[in-house]
């Protein structure tokens, strides 16, 4: 079977800090300056970003953080029509596209309620995808502020499910 002539599951083209290849060629000084700038920027950040992009022509500097790990005051990601609240608040997101359930079975007690304090790794909900029950767990100790999605409704990958706050807040 012929593989993708167009789309494919290719490996990321460039690992680590990326730079505009059009400006790199035959210009060792530019490349050196880009590396130095990248190291300075990365050293000055409180949290390491997931991606750093530096473009030399017309000067662009971009930093990305994973939505779930966004530190307070981090710039929000690009507005998404699919996940409007992504990046806007501290939250626990959906682990898969699927159906969101707050309780282990219909009529049972929900995993968490508003105000519940949960430990890192504690289950807070279920996302069901193709009859597979995927547990949603807290990535860190926190307090559940409120549920953002109706029980039993369809959710997308990474869609915020619970707004959370620091456990002591």
């Amino acid at each position: 079977m012929s593989a993708p002539h167009g789309n494919g599951d290719g490996p990321p083209a460039l690992a680590g800090p990326r730079h505009d290849s059009a400006h790199e060629r035959g210009d060792g000084d530019t490349l050196g300056a880009v590396r130095e700038t990248a190291l300075q920027v990365l050293g000055a950040l409180p949290h390491p970003p997931s991606a750093l992009r530096i473009q030399v022509g017309a000067v662009t500097l971009e930093l990305d953080w994973p939505v779930n790990a966004a530190p307070q005051g981090a710039p929000p990601g690009p507005a998404s029509p699919a996940a409007p609240a992504a990046g806007a608040a501290d939250h626990i997101g959906a682990v898969s596209v699927g159906v969101f359930y707050r309780a282990p079975e219909p009529g049972a007690e929900p995993f968490v309620r508003e105000g519940s304090v949960v430990a890192a790794g504690q289950q807070v909900a279920i996302v069901e995808a193709m009859k597979l029950m995927i547990p949603v767990t807290a990535t860190r100790a926190c307090r559940i502020v409120r549920a953002l999605v109706e029980d039993g409704s369809a959710v997308e990958f990474d869609q915020p499910l619970f707004e959370i706050a620091a456990a002591g807040a």
């Binding site: 593989a3 167009g6 083209a13 290849s21 596209v97 193709m130 990474d158």
Partner: protein, 458 residues
């Protein structure tokens, strides 16, 4: 044919990039609702806004989004889709996915899982096509089990030959061997590479034609035994077996050869019980002999070449056939006109061995003007993700004859402005100025010759 015809209510498009947008457009022409799926990296892809609904199915790595069958099926069922169009690449030729769609009550817009299995395994496909009377290159029908077996087979085939992974494709998992002394090393490395790349170390041997042309036949088949061909595409301009430029008619191939290839493609499709749009790939040697290579069970990147020449919307036909409708046209209705050339513009740097060049498009102005079609999902400010294939746009031109088509493509590529990332446009322009290409006398070795790699061996 009435405009009110609407074989499906909602089609989920299980793909990204230009093909997702292109499928969505035909669905809109047909009055069909569309659902786009996208990864976190593709949030700003135009199909997300263009489709009637969009579902974020996973993070950037394709394995967790565009190749995640459960996520895609969940998105389809949750959004009320009744059919799935897989585009090309990703899950488009995966019989398990087609089967999972059917099991979930969804129509898979493509051939049956059984036909895909018959044609997806290269050894099985060669056997089936040999039975159907298609000419094959001298080679081993069954995968070679040992080096000793390969050595005795190679003696019969002759050199140069090519070792191919049974599960390979897309230019990966193959190696050219020029002399008997190189066979042992090449055999072992190809097997090891195939095991790593595809999880299947089986390989077979085939005669290698250094200056052959790659010519393929587009076919359409319905579920009732109806089958027709839509002419040929010459895809001889390839870099390490990745297509760069495709055109129709195939320059310099005798009409009689093309007719026999079309008849062979239809015989092959019938033998495989094929339905939907598909492509039979052949190699044509300088003497005009042709040999079957493989079948592509999907829409292809270069399908606009055929659409421009015939005026037939291939995605529309795919959708109608999948809905169980008989072919809406007969062979007499297919009348290719003029000359068409397609160039693939990739975000790759030709000066750095075609290294992928992800990044933000500071500027993007595709060519315009008469008889030019540009299929793209890019726009000024679009960020070319590093996680996916680097195809940025396809430029397709029509003209009454090849000479005018070449001139029009030269003009189109000169107009095409892309700033912020390196593209293959400069290299495409070199090909269009090459005297052998202009004469139409080139073979699959042209691009590698321009790059100073006369061997063309990957």
């Amino acid at each position: 044919m009435g405009g009110a015809e609407r074989p499906f209510r909602t089609v989920l498009i299980a793909n990204r990039g230009e093909i997702a947008l292109r499928v969505a457009r035909t669905c809109r022409d047909m009055g069909i609702r569309t659902v786009a799926v996208h990864s976190t990296d593709d949030r700003d892809s135009p199909v997300v806004r263009y489709a009637d609904a969009a579902v974020q199915i996973g993070p950037a790595p394709a394995r967790r989004s565009y190749l995640n069958m459960a996520a895609i099926l969940q998105a389809a069922l949750g959004s009320g889709a009744d059919a799935v169009h897989p585009g090309y690449g990703f899950l488009s030729e995966n019989p398990d996915f087609a089967e999972a769609c059917l099991a979930s009550g969804l129509t898979f817009i493509g051939p049956s899982p059984a036909a895909m299995r018959r044609l997806g395994d290269k050894s099985a496909a060669r056997r089936l096509m040999a039975q159907a009377g298609l000419p094959l290159l001298p080679g081993t029908l069954e995968p070679t089990g040992s080096l000793a077996e390969a050595e005795s087979a190679a003696a019969g085939i002759g050199y140069p030959l090519i070792i191919k992974a049974v599960a390979g494709g897309g230019g990966r998992g193959m190696r050219v061997v020029r002399r008997a002394a190189d066979l042992a090393h090449a055999y072992r490395t190809t097997r090891a590479a195939a095991q790593t790349l595809f999880g299947d170390g089986r390989v077979y041997l085939e005669r290698f034609l250094p200056h052959a042309r790659h010519v393929e036949i587009q076919i359409l088949c319905d579920a009732y035994g109806g089958a027709l061909h839509l002419g040929e595409r010459d895809c001889s301009v390839q870099r390490r077996r990745q297509k760069l430029i495709e055109e129709t008619p195939a320059p310099g191939v005798p009409a009689g050869t093309l007719e026999r290839m079309c008849a062979a493609a239809i015989a092959g499709a019938r033998a495989a019980g094929y339905s939907g749009a598909g492509t039979f790939e052949f190699l044509v040697d300088p003497a005009g002999r042709f040999f079957f290579m493989e079948t592509n069970c999907r829409i292809q990147v270069e399908h606009p070449v055929t659409e421009m020449a015939t005026g037939i919307d291939l995605v529309r036909e795919q959708i109608r056939i999948a809905a169980g409708l008989p072919l809406s046209l007969s062979q007499q209705d297919v009348r290719p006109r003029g000359a068409v050339i397609e160039c693939r513009v990739n975000a790759e740097d030709p000066d750095r061995d075609f290294a992928p060049a992800p990044g933000r498009l500071a500027g993007f102005a595709p060519p315009l003007g008469p008889f030019i079609r540009v299929d793209t999902h890019a726009f000024p400010g679009y960020r070319v993700p590093a996680a996916y294939d680097s195809l940025l746009a396809k430029v397709v031109v029509w003209a009454p004859d090849r000479e005018q088509a070449v001139a029009r493509m030269r003009r189109a590529l000169a107009e095409f402005q892309v700033a912020g990332v390196a593209t293959t446009i400069p290299f495409l322009r070199r090909v269009l100025d090459d005297p052998e290409f202009v004469r139409g006398g080139h073979g699959t070795d042209l691009a590698d010759r321009l790059l100073g790699r006369p061997d063309g061996a990957p």
